[in-house]
Amino acid sequence: MIVGNFYVNRLVLLVLISGLMWSFVPFSVRAQHTSVRLHGMVTTEEGAPLQDASVYIEGSSFSAVTDAGGVFQLQVPGGRHRIVCTLVGYRQQAVSLAIQVGGDHKLDFVMVKDGNYHLQEVEVVGKSAIAEVRESPFNVVALDAKSLYNSTLDLGHMLDRASGVKIRETGGMGSSMSISLNGFTGRHIKLFMDGVPMDGFGSAFQLNNIPVNVADRIEVYKGVVPIEFGADAMGGVINIVTNQRANTYLDASYSYGSFNTHKTNISVGHTTKGGFTFQLNAFQNYSDNDYKVRTSVLDVQTGNFSWEEYWVRRFNDAYHNETVMAKVGFVNKPWADRLLFGITLGREKAEIQHSNLMKIVFGMRERSGTTVLPSLSYEKKNLFIANLHVRVTANYNRNYNHNIDTAARQYNWFGEYRPTRYLGESSYTLGKFYNDNASTTANVTYRFNERHALAFNNVITGYERKNADRVAATDIYSSIDTMRRANIKNVLGASYRYQHNKNWNTNLFGKYYYQRVTGPIDTSQVAGSTAYSERTESFSTTGYGLASTYFFRDFQLKASIEKAFRLPTDNELFGDEVLETGNTSLRAEHSINYNVGATWNSTLQNDHSVYVDVNGYYRDIKDYIQRLVEQRYGTAGYSNHGKVRNIGVDAELRYYYKNRFMAGGNVTYQDMRNKERYASSTGDRLSVTYNNRMRNVPYFFGNADAAYYIHDLWGAGNVLSLGYTFNFVGEFFLDWESLGNQNTKATLPRQVYHDFSMSYMLKNGRYNIAFEARNFTDAMLYDNFSLQKPGRSFSLKLRYFLIKRNG
């Protein structure tokens, strides 16, 4: 499956067989903001209940899907509406109703079989995905983005609300953001957008600068990952499912907030009767990020730091990015359910205010980047024969980065500076480099019958990095970066799905990982000189897993297990050849991930509905790749040395009262400990940190929210909603907990902060005005040691939304 001349061809489009897009829809798509409860049942002509029928109000975004009993509930504004019911294989039904405010309305649909149903098929692809998520045996959380479209959140901050997930930022807008998922971070977690790995998208197109309005939902797979995501993601994957409405719509918004923050987003899409479709998404973010922080201040004359701390305003931290995503293609054609060509263009520019310690401040450093990302996706169900589904995606990305540090100045937090005699506030650079990435995914599923289905998935990803301007890299440490570094990875997955009956299904899967890396090696035999040549190593391993789920009344029980891997990177295998030597005998890091979970979802006495989800997990991680320095070997290198065990629980509780009130929250607690007894990989010296909690990992956190809706305020169909969110992260230590005098420990203090939001929707959501106050108690917040995040901020958002359903 490996394409040898990958980089000669640059973009290899594998037209392999592919399949049904594995998509999951949130458990918690609820909270419709209208005034009357409309409920009823959808049945066949024979009276059998129909699941997954879609019921919606024409011309609005209000919709619902029937459950296994054929029952739906819908919150609708008062007034006259045309209410539509659709389901694959049945004729669409529609009723016009005048709905009085107050009380419940009951409405049943009787569906008639439609001989000519395939034209409606794609229209309901997203709907039938709901069934998939219900039956998913994986430990997955899905967050609905649609309910947040009136907020100013980016995808990262939306993700922060998922149980088990904590994002960590180094500052305000555009600062670097890392994700902690069940204690795993960095390379152990992989991000996807519509099933495509985001690794190489570049910093100009990342979670922290993409608005929620781009997404339909975010899915978080914890520990056990379906084969559709071909990645060595030992900790789990996060998949952003973008909005792929095949409707005609316009969604435009603008917000202004504290720190001179401007955000604009425009989404527009149209699908013709002939199946031609286009979608355009454009967004922009700008912020001065000039919030105040408290820090000691350097005296630029003496080079000394004050012991006093001062409130100072950030002055070299402005950030902006601009992105356009466009897709054009066809849907609902006999030869393709969906064929889309896309391109994403993004750029960003960020000033750099400080180093990884906030005390060390820069006045003129900056970086910029661009991303160019063409893509292709093809999807067809029942290709050639019934029940054979294929899906193919391909994308290529080139991102360009430019770091600028040329000022001969030393700044302090008051904005004062001292001229210096050398260039660069940190180390002089005008460094420019390109990253090239490509990935293709092919997926095929075949369902033999109601019980048995097979799926195959293959993902090839590759990247190459090199300097664009070798001479500009004057930092003597980066000279090695003038050498090419490349990596090709192939992950082949196969799964077998067994549906014993409606209540029990099981997924058994295996994954084969292959990787080939190319990097420089120092071949010099002469002391004090270096001579680099290129070398290539390949690497493979196999993982497997099992996931099963059982439904019992209002309960769903889940259990899953996977032996998961994280392959060594080129840097770990080869070292940087400056400070580190390579170790080509490294094994992949691996972890056995266990999950058990239970969900209870019930409606009590019609007006009250409760959702409870509890998941426990156990992670047994071995062969951690660590950087070790061994004097007898001369230098630092990477070694498979380390064991970590993590036991944790994520719990979520939500409650709804009619359409007026909802409250909920989630909490995560994990006990992640170093289980490596020995300090040395070759001897029996005991580690002083054995059984310590892993350092610098948040382990107790959660959030809670409540919303109250006032319907028909100042006009029928208008809704005022008031929302409140409480956020909590427990204190944790930067370094090993047991070491040092406890009074002197470097800690990340407990964070408690509160957000308030208020939005007013007019005309069934066509016009929206939203006000937000984030961190309104002005708490001092830190995700990373010493790096203070923004204090209290306000924003106002105006949004216009229009949708016209096709068919």
């Binding site: 004050s306 050398y422 003597i476 090695i480 007898r632 010296r685 002083v688 420990k745």
Partner: protein, 431 residues
Amino acid sequence: MDKPLNKNNMNMEHVKTMNGSVWGIGLALLAAVGCSKNDGPGPAGGNGGNGERYFIAATAGSSTYLLTADDLESGTATIVGNGVEIPRTYSMWVNNGTKASVGLIYAQGDPGIGISYGLDASGNLVPVGNEFQITSRFTTYGAFDKYVVTSVSGQTLTDGKTGAVFNFIDLDNHNTMTQRDIVTENFTGNGQLATFSGIVDLGNGEFLTGLVVSEPKDPEAGGGGSTGPVTHPDSVWVAALDANLNVKRIYRDDRISYASGRMRSQYYSQIASDDAGNVYVFSGSFESSTTKPAGALRINKGAADFDQSYYFNIEEMSGGYRFRKVWHITEDYFLLEVYNDLEYGSTTAASQYAVVKMQDKTFSWVREGFPAKDEISATGLPFADNGKMYFPVTTASAQPTVYVIDPETATAKAGLVIQAEGVAALSRFEY
């Protein structure tokens, strides 16, 4: 909460009256991010003469843990539950007197924060002087006069010339830092570029530094360091500079190669003075093109030239092994860190040690009572005191241990054992 910046916010009287427990709280506040305001420490002030304690800079994770001990020759200490946690890895500590030790951070890219620690009147560890920002990288360092000096060569100065940047950290003045630079192009008058290695205080307001004299570095060469091809590998140069970087003298000789031990971008000092004030200039003959064996020359106290009557061929005595680092122990005894293999490159391991007595030109391996070279996973900086060398060594099978090396017999014995991942440095403070 805002207060105007008082640039002289050190309140020495206040500091003297503070007791240990207050300091403990103060440190906790300093360690906690976003802590409330806190009156800072100043220098420890006068020497109360109460006593002395050994200082241990141990490491684990990405932090440094500062401990004190009454004895380095026996007993145990631990960083579990003990020690002042500094959330940075200080691998270099420079001693200048017995008041404080200065921790220097070597950050590859970003500037680092330097600190100094000493003892308060009760013998508790406290910061002495302010934290300071080391903006330029450094590749060599040492103590000079009242300063701790760091230096990095091969910098592009604002006028486009290549030079070296020195930081002078004034221990008598709260660690006030003065930055000076010097053009290193054509430094020795032969069109070559100089890179400085080592700082040796001559006691008369001047210091000596070894020169690595080379062609300018090819910016694409990589591999660290500021040195280009060495076209005079059979010569040694040493420069005498004052605190304003005026070049007072340049010493040259052709009996040994340059006086610098190199690893990657680092230039290790190979010059040191004995107790009588004579400076020994070593050369580990790092440069592979040199024809000169590893050896040493001498600059007698106050002399303006190398002592032509003194030459010590160390490589002959070592059986062909060359060495990387040199430290003074006592009298004219020095400790050498010797490469493990006869053939070596920039990253070859060096974890065997020998004692040389310079006047007698004797060479003795330190083997008895000391871990074998292939057992040593890490060493800290050795600390000379009481006529002995105290050397922290970590092996794969034992916790970091202070080995006490007796220079007269070149034997070692295991002393204090520290439960930690490593020990970076030792010192002795008086209070």
